[in-house]
Assembly symmetry: C3
Homo-oligomer: 353 residues x 3
């Protein structure tokens, strides 16, 4: 433990800390992993998100009472524009307030040399909820551990919500993805869901696969579409299968697209391949184009966590894809705000009414 001070390293506590299961009660609980959620928790959350969306659309000003007087701190150690703005908008629309470092965390003393454990407790002294985005795996676990220590000392307990920790987990992305599928399809029973892209490194697809498993729907088929070298980790495949989901692996979406209800598209980065020729051989199969989407069922949905780059072709392709009713990635993004509103209300108030 005589590590040099002044580094962004995660303490050993991070690896021991287990965030509490939600078990029907969100109040005061850190949101760090999808492993905290069971179907019942998802049902509660999605019901609240649906209600909140309806109230926003009818301009129900009562929403701004739900988190009035509460302060959210936005602590982003790396950029994540959507997650950041989505959480901020969520808190504002609930009547809560947001604080963030004026010059950005990257230029703060926090970034240069302070342990995350101190940073998170300093912020905990001012805020009721901290949204933490940090490049290191385990950072949100560390936040949970040290906030619990602080909360024993300070009267005003503070909750941490992970906004993503490196290539680790990004629970609220998975929650909004699940909500979007649920919202579009009304039920998960009988769905065929294709996850496409780099399934080895993509944390969003890992967490989404887990949530699909925890939801315990009937007769779900999960198609994992990836190059062999970027396949979904075996432990996640096993977990999913244990929950009764039929898993199918392929490296060619065209084989299954005509039978797919949900297409979840992600990017494959060239850097993941040993050489350019390995990348060249597969890349065309992992670019969504209007002609590929044409092969999907009329009621399929095309999802993407965004931002997107070349994995959806040219800008002209984007324009054509965006005009297709099956492309629902902007609705998905909007849902992100509703799900985060539901989450904020639940952890800060316990009840949503």
């Amino acid at each position: 433990m005589s590590e040099p001070a002044g580094e962004l390293s995660i303490s050993q506590h991070a690896f021991a800390y287990q965030p509490p299961p939600i078990d029907g009660d969100f109040f005061g609980k850190h949101i760090i992993s999808v492993d905290q959620f069971q179907r019942r928790d998802l049902d509660i959350l999605f019901q609240a998100a649906t209600s909140i969306r309806k109230r926003i659309r009818t301009q129900d000003r009562g929403l701004t009472e739900l988190c009035a007087g509460k302060v959210m701190a936005s602590l982003f150690f790396e950029a994540s524009t959507r997650t950041d703005m989505s959480f901020q908008a969520a808190m504002r629309r609930l009547g809560g307030d947001v604080i963030a470092v004026s010059n950005g965390v990257r230029f703060s003393s926090m970034y240069k040399g302070e342990n995350l454990s101190d940073t998170i407790r300093a912020t905990g002294c001012y805020a009721d909820v901290i949204v933490l985005r940090h490049p290191e795996i385990g950072s949100s676990y560390e936040a949970g551990y040290y906030l619990d220590l602080l909360n024993q000392r300070i009267d005003n307990p503070t909750v941490a919500i992970s906004g993503g920790d490196g290539i680790g987990e990004h629970p609220t992305q998975a929650l909004l993805d699940m909500f979007t599928i649920f919202d579009q399809k009304k039920s998960l029973d009988g769905l065929t869901i294709a996850l496409v892209g780099d399934l080895k490194h993509g944390r969003t697809v890992h967490s989404l696969a887990k949530l699909l498993a925890y939801y315990d729907a009937d007769d779900v088929r999960l198609c994992l579409v990836a190059p062999q070298s970027l396949a979904m980790p075996a432990d996640i495949c096993k977990l999913v299968a244990e929950h009764g989901i039929h898993v199918q692996q392929t490296d060619d979406l065209r084989e299954i697209i005509a039978q797919t209800d949900v297409i979840y598209w992600t990017r494959i980065q060239e850097e993941r391949f040993a050489d350019e020729s390995a990348y060249s051989r597969i890349k065309d199969r992992f670019i969504m184009t209007p002609s590929l989407l044409a092969q999907a069922p009329a009621d399929a949905i095309l999802m993407h966590p965004l931002p997107r780059k070349h994995e959806m072709g040219t800008r002209a392709d984007h324009d054509v894809l965006d005009a297709d009713r099956r492309s629902i990635y902007f609705e998905q993004m909007e849902n992100g705000m509703f799900v985060r509103m539901a989450l904020l209300v639940k952890v800060l108030r316990g009840v949503y009414v």
Copy 2:
């Protein structure tokens, strides 16, 4: 259209898109160009701005009802401190909320690689109004085009307001300048207005000249004071003349300062000249000093969009100029907040009461 992804380039739609004329109704309209405004629109806006200022000074808390529950996103791809803070303060004083990327857009994934068209729609999913500052001409047109597409898909329509697009347009600066002249002089009829500095590249003077034309006041005289190589573009001179304004061009303010009601001062950048000697020959004529201001009428006003540098001499000169009642650039800046408040209320609510 096979341009490389990952660049901040403006799509071809930007050049086809025409923002709607205000025509007496601001509700839900993007504010992108002064060309959307006629005299009637300016009258509506300035009346609202005047009323808002009065209510702020009497601490009328009813103002904070006007945009309560609305969210403004501040999307600044380049720094513009005054425009940014002025819009933020405007929204806050109307009871609305503001979101911005915690680390600044420059460090976000948006900046690195995402098309503006996606960025603007992502933001549109969270916000009711987006203030966009972007270094490229046409960016605010592109924002308008793609937000219109998004608004067909998402229930909550989002409005864009340009905070300046490169050397293109900066409509709210021109609106606050016009309001300041109007406010100080009560009427534009019969005024002699001098625009001084780099009239070739200065977007604020272009837009202001256009607004003066669109206002169709009687007997206005516009003195364009610039080095020959930095003269006002011919098409703007023509437009202004067509609206009955008497245009006079000179490169020496001293010829006309004694007959000038409004002096609008801007900076000339050395880089605009082919060689240093060309710059040296003219620069002294384009530095405002206490002795130059002394030659202006007692009821003249000296305006400047700020920030100022050497074009107002030394810091000691600044102090003397600032103490002169004719220098109204800080009042001008304060007016910026009132005009932006009026604009936000009008586009978000339609009515100002």
Copy 3:
């Protein structure tokens, strides 16, 4: 006065400007130096801070009425995460709003080339109170001077609060430190207070020493624990002694720790020493460890302005120190928010009820 434009230099006015004594009335007064405070002012402030803390803990929503409709601008020319977030949270919890440059001041036109005197007045046009953090000594004095000039011109007066000016002063840090001692010990009478670390350059210890003097408590003993080359400046020692405080200087805390009620710990930077051997000789005596703290009385308190680095040993040491009830630096940080809330209410409203 023909200095080049475009530098962050402080005008000569800064050195002539004297901020007004509080003298029982905070309303509309810039907060720039602890020299503005007398015991009576501290009593008023601490009473308000205590009341505010109680109301926050009982979730009294009436607090959000106290600064409703007011706007605070956060103008941080250098990073100071805690001061920044603490002020923001303070303003929010009082129902006020906060504006800040979206991309941070460092990247704004303000940073490149504009005089602080213009920046501060521009901001003063939008905000009711400006929290200024700036690397140059005297900057907050300059802010006060120019805001007074602006306030004569603009209807809405603006107050400046220093968030620290370089190695100059950081008055709100000293106020929160004093409040913490007062709050923990109920009275300053009879206390032995040790200030430890670099007492030559540390502005927090300078300001705290002054406030202890101005408070005029009975029978206070101040132990100044520093290497000889980093001793407290003589003028501050003299001031303190003139107010009847018994001053003792040493370079070894162990001599006095057993009789100390308050230990105020700060860092010694290696760069302050001529050579490494000089630093090596003393450094161990200036690292707080669990075994050192064990020698302090059971009711002593250990304070630190944070962030901390090696001056509190390893991360394992941190964990042990943090678990000790005598370590109250997180409570100290939380107090920062309460004291800043009290200050904001007092300067913006005059009364706190």
